[in-house]
Symmetry: C2
Subunit: 453 residues, 2 copies
């Protein structure tokens, strides 16, 4: 049985390695345009900052490992030019080679996503980068170190992680965001505000609600011209490098050409087995969309966590097994300028748009009991529907934030309501957490509002 | 409506403060033998070590606060000598005063527990302490600082937290434990072993499987004589102070005299409303027992977390409201010598004793992805029943352990099985956690064993 996986990212590689757990006799090939097997894209900002000493450290296993231990054939620097579903054939072209055809029994599409290019004039200049590949990361690192000026377009997770990395390397960083606050795809505006304040304290300059119109300079970028969307004021920011982190979009070119159906979010539509509309073709990761567990809306897959889980399911099924992906909770986290920022479930806006009448519990607390020195403030925001069932949560603070969101993830998945959650026995010890953890108090705050209704 | 609470610990104080949330007109009195209102007993070791600068910091609110904001009457240094249920009367005696009677409509017993005294000869000597009260803590601190030798009897949570505190103050500490390992009421022996090794690395001496026979010395303790239970070897350990931390027992003296029924664990039996067998008398906290959520066995309440939750329920019901305590998960944690140690649900032995055939998943992992510098090892052990339902978990590691156990607490409470848990979407980011968190991998390990059966 021949299985081919297009894409060696988190989804594709997870899928390929999983196939052999179902059936040791499968012949599995992973095709990748880049010259590396799987590496952590999410780790790129930490290699730019130097916290991870070498970009190559991000590569999870070297090529030899796949051959020897993974029993997976890698075809790197290879482009798939066409999928021909009727013949179960792929047309591929290795760097410097001729186009040839590969036969498959099952195909897994894990082409990931590509950067969205915002409508900015002058992007053909030198000194302008995306952050998507190891190559991009190296270019940015070389161009944006001590004493240089850098402009990052986009205050989402990637933009801000990169801004922090460049700031850590001694660059003078300006982040320009179209929307009125940072991280609005991840958290509500009140939580974003806490992050915004922390970024501004750090010395990174933030221009919010601002549209970048043009990259200026001769051959090389020398600055950007932007417009404040509220005041229409025009701003010029001088810079040595410009990094575009204004979002990504699913890479569906190949799939569409092959007649694979997209969903309402313009990504490949898959069922819970990761099947596309064409038999024997599966898809997983950022090129797909999947129903949000809470709202039911079909949403783009944007997290490594989801990608590896989908990959596992796709790999199992492609090899003749039977696995399903039961939910997409969108449990997410990042760490920026000393703050952990995390969420699960839809943000308030998405939940409201889906027709929910939200009940919100929001509480400031400490990671430690009052009498214990060293506790840090955390803010916990709980979202419940009108029956009091938990549908989302967001937490921000300096420490011990991330694992707290996972408690909400388990609770949301199992349909827990705010009353139950408020009485959850969380662990307590003076150097660890208070007897009533802030997560339970936030749920209690929501419960009280529910009762008052 | 007159409500009286006996005991100003976590359960009693929570109960008293809760009554007024149900009914602002209740007249509520808290009676305490000690001279302080509620303080954190769990914080005592951290005041002994000096990490908390003053013992008085452990007091949550001063006396004036109760009067002014809590609207709770405090009677400190007051002993209840008898409960007369037929007349709804308490006999009380304030320090230096005469015995008088108080009338109640509802009574809440929160008398807590008292130290068990192990059968050791010579305990009448000076220099021998328990660690139960602020007074005890001050005495230990004064007697056991730099250069002094200390013996702690009992390697449970309190004994070890105190050993660490005395060690931090420069004392030369020996801990003597009757059982073959440390913390066996909290974790399984394999997890205990990790803690044991860490303690031994710290320079604290551990004598396990060892029975203390006698405290020797003239007026003041000068040493202990102990016997290794395996070899029968007699050991003498010289010491300046001896601290007894060999367990506690429910303080049920008053309750028993009043005809209040105990349960199989020899603590006050309460239903889910915290009602005792006598109408209008409730009980909460360490003087009670309650069914374990997983095994159904009636177990002693030993955690501050449970005490405050029970207190809240007792207070609500005593004031005419309606609340229930739905479960006792026994989510527990401590931090010792740089390790966080945590568990939820029964240990393997208790689960097996309750008739369960356990399936265990145990995994070593890191708090961070492999490529990210600075990750710390954590060990996660998952306990499932023969159908694969999660019934317990234990985790040990240097960081980020505590909140991970809370994820299991929510999952156990909602009946999650290991397969579901293995696919739980935990949050991922390079500086935070791997895409497959060690908690999900441990559940997967259990699931694989289940399938193999």
């Amino acid at each position: 049985m021949k299985i081919i996986v297009i894409g060696a990212g988190a989804a594709g590689t997870s899928a390929a390695l999983e196939t052999r757990k179902v059936n040791r006799d499968v012949d599995v090939t992973v095709i990748n345009t880049e010259g590396f097997p799987e590496y952590s894209r999410c780790g790129l900002p930490y290699a730019v900052s130097g916290h991870i000493p070498k970009f190559e450290n991000l590569v999870l296993h070297d090529e030899g490992w796949y051959d020897k231990f993974g029993k997976v054939r890698l075809m790197l620097k290879t482009e798939v030019t066409e999928i021909v579903p009727d013949n179960n054939v792929l047309k591929v072209k290795q760097e410097g080679g001729a186009t040839r055809e590969l036969q498959y029994d099952s195909l897994i599409i894990a082409t990931g996503s590509k950067p969205s290019t915002p409508p900015i004039q002058g992007l053909e200049k030198k000194g302008i980068f995306n952050l998507r590949t190891i190559g991009d990361g190296k270019n940015i690192m070389n161009a944006g170190s001590h004493g240089k000026r850098a402009v990052v377009v986009g205050a989402g997770v990637i933009g801000l992680e990169l801004a922090e990395a460049l700031h850590a390397k001694g660059a003078k960083v300006t982040v320009i965001e179209f929307l009125p606050n940072v991280l609005l795809a991840m958290v509500d505006e009140d939580i974003a505000e806490v992050v915004k304040n922390k970024i501004e304290e750090s010395g990174v300059r933030l221009l919010l609600n601002t549209k970048v119109d043009e990259a200026i300079g001769k051959e090389k970028v020398e600055g950007v011209i932007a417009t404040n969307r509220a005041t229409n004021e025009r701003i010029t920011v001088d810079t040595d490098i410009l990094v575009l982190a204004a979002g990504i979009k699913p890479d569906t070119t190949l799939a569409e050409k092959a007649g694979i159906a997209l969903g309402p979010a313009k990504a490949i539509k898959v069922d819970e087995h990761m099947r596309t509309n064409i038999e024997n073709i599966y898809a997983a990761g950022e090129c797909t969309e999947f129903p949000d567990f809470v709202t039911g809306a079909s949403v783009r897959v944007g997290l490594g966590t989801t990608a590896v889980r989908q990959g596992k399911v796709a790999g199992t099924n492609a090899a003749g097994g039977n696995a399903t992906m039961e939910h997409l909770l969108n449990t997410r986290v990042t760490k920026l300028f000393g703050l952990e920022i995390t969420g699960v479930g839809p943000c308030s806006e998405a939940a409201t748009k889906a027709g929910m009448k939200l009940i919100i519990g929001k509480v400031r607390g400490s990671t430690l009991p009052e009498y214990m020195p060293g506790g840090k403030e955390i803010i916990v925001k709980v979202l419940a529907n009108e029956e009091g069932r938990l549908v989302g949560a967001q937490i921000v603070g300096e420490e011990q934030v991330a694992q707290r969101i996972n408690v909400f993830a388990a609770a949301i998945l199992k349909g827990m309501n705010v009353g139950e959650f408020s009485m959850l026995e969380t662990c307590y010890a003076p150097p660890i957490a208070p007897t009533w953890d802030t997560i339970t108090i936030a749920a209690e705050a929501a419960m009280k509002k529910l009762r008052r209704k």
